[in-house]
């Protein structure tokens, strides 16, 4: 795990194969990134391991990021793969403190896909781009044989402009920081699972997919000294916080009772045996900032619709080694570990 030093790209042992969990946002994915990708492409911008790379070109600070979208089903309560492909990349830019400007989109389409399906996805992308204020300026299309894709895969890349002088990233997280989330957790993951598993709930749970630049911009405009931002996608809150805690050798302490989870999501997680701390979100982020500014930051976030459920959930403590701990609702304390493999539904 940490401290693993390699000077050249070493292939995984031949018997090892890629498992779904290598894409799950947990420990296996981090090992894969360290042992294969980082080892091969050493670069300071890459090694910052933020949601996007912050680059300087002729005195202008840009953020650059890319992401691929392979969600199944293509249409789910509250959104489609189209919104995800726009919002996901927009949010990776926003997490660098960058105003999202331009997107590219690459489509891998499966032979036999109804054109109407593609049209619906494209319309969703158009509307999402409009809402997020980004322009889709270049693209690519490939078609693969039937059975070699899953309808539509989309890759988007994005460029954003970093206007604030702050260097936002895990390296700035400091003891005494307050930890804020922008809203209730787990809706996206549960919305997807409910369709995939054919589960129906009394009130449908809608994905939280949304662009997050607006609340970030509001914080920066108000002069909040934002230290780090992270969107809570695969692996959820627990994985995002573990990455930061381990990278910085700090302890992040959470109050279970303060972590917002809606009643329907709580209920669904109970039934499915999932922990909402590990469930994916597509319109939620965590912010680290000085505790003295926490109250004002929450007020600002709550004034923006997409982050109206913002709450303070914990603090950064001085002590090492890097870990996330949680005071449970009944008052005991425990570690919140990084996800091992995928969250799998339990037996009983």
């Amino acid at each position: 795990m940490s401290g693993f030093e390699l000077s050249c790209p070493v292939p995984l042992p031949t018997e090892e194969r890629i498992l779904l969990a290598h894409g799950g946002g947990g420990r296996l994915m981090h090992e894969l990134i360290e042992r294969v990708f980082l080892a091969a492409f050493r670069d300071p911008a890459l090694e910052a391991r933020h949601d996007g790379a912050a680059l300087e070109v002729d005195g202008v600070r840009l953020a650059f990021t890319t992401d691929s979208y392979v969600v199944r089903p293509l249409f789910f309560p509250g959104g489609t793969i189209g919104e995800l492909a726009v919002n996901g990349t927009v949010n990776d830019l926003a997490m660098c403190g960058a105003r999202p400007l331009y997107l590219s989109a690459g489509f891998i389409l499966e032979e036999g896909l109804p054109l109407e399906t593609l049209r619906r996805v494209i319309e969703a992308m158009r509307q999402a781009a409009q809402r997020a204020g980004v322009r889709l300026v270049t693209g690519d299309t490939k078609v693969v044989d039937q059975g070699h894709g899953d309808g539509i895969f989309i890759n988007t890349a994005g460029i954003g402009l970093i206007e604030s002088p702050l260097a936002i990233g895990p390296q700035r997280v400091a003891p005494g920081d307050a930890v804020l989330v922008s809203g209730d957790l787990g809706a996206h993951g549960v919305a997807i699972l409910s369709v995939r598993e054919g589960l129906e709930f009394e009130s449908p749970i809608l994905s939280d997919t949304a662009p997050l630049w607006e609340p970030v911009e509001a914080l920066l405009r108000a002069g909040i000294e934002v230290h780090c931002l992270r969107d809570l996608t695969r692996g959820g809150l627990a994985s995002a916080l573990n990455e930061i805690a381990q990278a910085r050798g700090l302890v992040i302490s959470l109050e279970e009772a303060a972590i917002p989870v809606s009643e329907p999501v709580k209920g669904a997680c109970e039934i499915l045996g999932l922990d909402p701390l590990y469930v994916a979100n597509e319109g939620r982020f965590v912010a680290f900032l000085p505790a003295s500014q926490a109250e004002r930051a929450i007020e600002i976030l709550r004034s923006v619709p997409v982050s109206s459920g913002a709450a303070r959930i914990g603090s950064v403590l001085e002590e090492a080694p890097g870990a996330v701990v949680l005071r449970s609702r009944v008052g005991g304390r425990r570690v919140v570990d990084m996800l091992s493999g995928e969250q799998l539904p339990r037996i009983c």
């Binding site: 701990v325 609702r329 009944v330 008052g331 425990r334």
Partner: protein, 365 residues
């Protein structure tokens, strides 16, 4: 959320913990049977609230953990047979066999699917008449009724392409095996609430009387468990050994008669090997004669003898409550959820996984 929030309430938990501290006058060892309870204890940090004289040890109530390695190997071999759709609950997928896990078989191209109900597997068989659909029927008394119902339904539908790989186990014989071990230090039990919801707790009365141990049927939320512990401790301190029911909102003495009937219709009791423990007499379920044609073990050829278990793994001792996971020399070093040596490190109900995820307390304290 009703029926959940009030059982996670801090005030109620503190009040019960204070009562337990007041009542305990000497050291006692209590075992919670079910892995779900083990996880609540660690996830909520309950041990921190209890007096040091009280030791909680964790029992064999993790169906994934006690499923023999031979059956996992068998499952993988069946899943890798061309034309098979292999269905399982999620937790079984990562469990290491002597070669591959089901998840690794899936990565190599086997059609392994997670289902939430065995009835979904019946639907799959109905929709795919050209494929063999096999469901891995793992679990205690809790999952037996749904699995029995799946076989019964398949029979009603006249399906010829559906079968069960049965690995069903029963709780009372396991408790008896633990109590009759000369090394047993357990003085009281929290019995598994969900198992008793189905099976009732008549069987436990015989055990409580014969071995003079208090047994309290207990739920799964933090307040449930603290209340169950308080009830066991009270009995121990008063010298009583009875069966009591803490989980009254779900469990009746006779259990769920309808569920028991379908289980009896489809299954019969038989000896069964438990991973890490060995064969326990009359501790498992197998398909009865009229339903034996739905037995995947008969439908698919047997596989080669398995390799041995990792010699370093002390899962058997952990499952019997004789050791705690951190006492294992491989714990969190050579045995992690990514590279497990034994099943308790894998399952969401496994004691080793619970200690790994929640219990590495040096950072939490």
């Amino acid at each position: 959320m009703r029926f959940v929030d009030e059982y996670r309430d801090e005030q109620a938990a503190r009040r019960l913990a204070a009562l337990i501290r007041r009542r305990v006058t000497r050291p006692w060892t209590i075992m919670e049977i079910c892995g779900g309870q083990t996880h609540t204890i660690l996830k909520s940090g309950l041990e921190e609230l209890l007096p040091p004289a009280l030791t909680l040890v964790h029992g064999p109530g993790c169906p994934v953990c006690v499923t023999p390695i031979e059956l996992i190997d068998r499952a993988v071999a069946i899943a890798e047979t061309p034309g098979v759709i292999f269905c399982s609950f999620g937790d079984m997928l990562r469990v290491p066999g002597s070669g591959r896990s089901l998840l690794e078989a899936k990565a190599r191209g086997a059609d392994v699917r997670i289902v939430y109900s065995p009835l979904d597997a019946v639907k799959l068989a109905h929709a795919n008449p050209a494929r063999e659909v096999v469901f891995f029927a793992v679990g205690f008394e809790t999952t037996a009724p749904a699995n029995a119902m799946a076989v019964w339904q398949a029979a009603q539908l006249g399906l010829k392409n559906f079968s069960l790989l049965v690995a069903h186990v029963l709780v009372p014989p396991a408790i008896e095996a633990i109590l009759s071990s000369p090394n047993c230090r357990v003085r009281g039990f929290l019995a598994p609430g969900h198992v008793c919801t189905v099976a009732g707790y008549g069987d436990y009365e015989r055990l409580a009387a014969r071995y003079r141990v208090p047994i309290v049927v207990t739920g799964f939320e933090p307040v449930d468990i603290l209340e169950g512990v308080l009830m066991v401790v009270t009995q121990l301190e008063e010298g009583r050994a009875e069966v009591e029911n803490q989980y009254r909102r779900s469990v009746r003495r006779e259990g769920n008669r309808q569920a028991q009937q379908i289980v009896q219709e489809v299954f019969e009791v038989s000896d069964r090997a438990w991973r890490g423990i060995g064969v326990i007499p009359m501790s498992g379920l197998v398909l009865r004669e009229p339903y034996r044609r739905y037995d995947a073990a008969e439908r698919f050829p047997a596989t080669a003898a398995p390799r041995e278990e990792s010699p370093e793994c002390i899962a058997g001792l952990v499952l019997q409550g004789l050791k705690k996971p951190p006492e294992c020399s491989a714990f969190a070093l050579r045995c992690t959820p990514e590279t497990p040596l034994g099943a308790p490190m894998v399952s969401s109900e496994g004691a080793c996984a619970a200690y790994y995820h929640y219990g590495r307390r040096e950072a939490a304290s």
